[in-house]
Subunit: 353 residues, 2 copies
């Protein structure tokens, strides 16, 4: 039984939360931090986060290609890397691979990594093979994809004799978010700008719908004939204002992104995720809602919604024991034991190698 050696890869908003959270867990030891931001590279992590326990750890420069990370992973011999850098699997994979090849398990918040089989089966096979070859496990997790619109949905079907239709909705508030998120959700556009942004790929809505649907399909044995995504502007009737954006009446307050999984011409599963600033101004109540129609019907409500940033950081840290215990390869939240908070006094038997 010893502490688990963790590399924090990415010290942005999400990675900082993870690193700070780990400081309260004696069983976890931060042994390295990677980031590219010029104002973080070379700085003391304890100072950056205001966390005394991590004083003396310096943010490493990833360098060109993978030279930096490679050197770090060779030096620190980490058990697991928490990777919070990008959203897309094809961008995450070269980085994750670098950790894997040094025998390091990986937990990533890259949305597409929650179930990369959904959009890139070839890549998923490669990830699985490389992870197995090096005896480590790769997991993508987060609040969504990873929990609210997939794992929790799947768990609820466990009490069902029959499931006919699934509708899961996550209504959240983008007001706390900064310019990058607001832009990708199309906040503060004219309707024409919103349409143009969608076409140009500047406005993307939620990343992770095919992955959530894929996880549900896998566990329920559902093969979707078609997966339909829709991104619609949420037009505002009122002026909405946050520290980072002003939305005038008639402009867009966000994006209502939905996905439908079609089986035999029928919508079998529908995931709905409208994201906007100041939803309360138009009496929109935020929350997580899951309705399962079948035998029996299940209606679940979580209000307010599970907060995204806090939950994603917590899940990444909390899944460490399950990832250390899992069989090598590419896994998913749908394959692992039910998540739970990492015990305060967690020590790992599995990490001893």
């Amino acid at each position: 039984m010893r502490t688990v050696r963790v590399v924090q890869w990415g010290l942005g908003a999400m990675g900082s939360r993870m690193a700070a959270l780990m400081a309260g867990k004696p069983g976890l030891e931060l042994v390295g931090v990677l980031d590219t931001a010029p104002d973080r590279v070379g700085r003391d992590v304890g100072e950056l986060l205001g966390v005394e326990r991590w004083a003396g750890i310096v943010v490493d420069q990833p360098g060109d290609g993978k030279a930096g990370p490679l050197a770090l992973f060779q030096r620190v011999k980490a058990d697991v890397a928490l990777h919070a850098v990008v959203s897309f699997a094809h961008l995450a994979w070269p980085q994750i691979r670098c950790a894997i090849e040094q025998g390091c398990n990986v937990i990533t918040t890259a949305e597409e990594m929650a179930y990369p089989q959904a959009q890139n089966a070839t890549l998923a096979v490669e990830i699985d093979a490389v992870a197995k070859a090096h005896g480590v496990t790769v997991l993508g997790t987060g609040v969504n994809p990873g929990f609210v619109l997939d794992t929790l949905v799947i768990a609820l079907t466990g009490v069902c004799a029959r499931v006919d239709y699934i509708k899961a909705t996550r209504i959240n508030d983008l007001s706390p978010f900064g310019p990058t998120v607001l832009q990708t959700q199309g906040v503060g556009c004219t309707p024409a700008e919103f349409e143009a942004g969608l076409r140009a790929g500047r406005i993307v809505g939620h990343i992770g719908f095919p992955e959530s649907l894929g996880m549900i399909g896998k566990r329920l044995g559902w093969t979707f004939d078609e997966v339909r995504q829709h991104r619609k502007p949420i037009n505002s009737c009122f002026r909405r204002e946050t520290p980072h954006v002003v939305v005038e009446p008639g402009q867009t307050a966000g994006c209502r992104h939905t996905v439908q999984g079609i089986i035999g011409g029928r919508v079998a599963a529908e995931l709905i995720h409208p994201q906007q600033v100041c939803p309360e101004l138009e009496s929109v109540e935020t929350g997580d809602f899951i309705a399962i129609h079948g035998e029996p019907d299940i209606n679940l409500v979580i209000q307010p919604e599970i907060p995204g940033g806090a939950a994603t950081a917590a899940l990444a840290v909390n899944m460490i024991p399950a990832v250390l215990d899992a069989a090598p390869g590419l896994t998913s939240m749908a394959d692992l034991p039910v998540p739970s908070i990492l015990p305060q006094d967690f020590v790992s038997a599995a990490s001893a190698r």
Copy 2:
């Protein structure tokens, strides 16, 4: 890949639901049924259940001790037995053992088997050892214990950085239940009869609280200094009537059973389960409610409550693949992958031996 061979042990209200449910799953094959009720023994299961697929299967007589079951398990070479006979671990164990020793995995709805470690550590060690010796897995499951007040609570803590206090409440309606359940919940008593029934052990309230608390404690790393159970009468102001009982004003409509897990003099977890007939007459809304106080706070509501009978039967059937895939030994819902409905086209790779 072949069908899973299942023995249904107990064909009462719960076992009948399981057997009927399995008839709709081509990947499951009912290969034997055990029951002691004189009006079921020797009868055709297809006829008893009105399920054509199980025609020709005759309800076996368990016989004295374990002679009957032993002969059955030796003959049918089942992969898994679904055991729905008793509530208490010490009564379930001799029966479960008989299946185990013939190399048969067991899923039981005996409430105390959800986490027998909670009240009988010695027995739990024995179950685990015998199961391992025979290379099979034993799981206790059901809606409660097994899902609402433990597995679902545990899963929600997965998004938390800190958990200070857990309060989970299941408010249900006993109106559909028959005399046995109504008596053990103290429905239709005078207050004095209720107190006397509690003392005599005729009124027991809910079975499974120490087990649910034990599962939560295990996954959260919480060691409770003390576990306090309280059983209070739910006194009725109005006349309440079901097909099986009449409750006059001033009599008891049911039992409000609670358990508290104490750590350092503080209630860290509290599970609340008031069960009564006709709750709507006093404006009591049924439902499942989970509140986690911590970082973040989580408030979950499922209304109406997940129906107990249907959910328990479904869970027992739905957990079959996870039990076949699990490492040998005594397991629990807190150790296995998130539950899900058994795919309609389920076939097992794991059951090939």
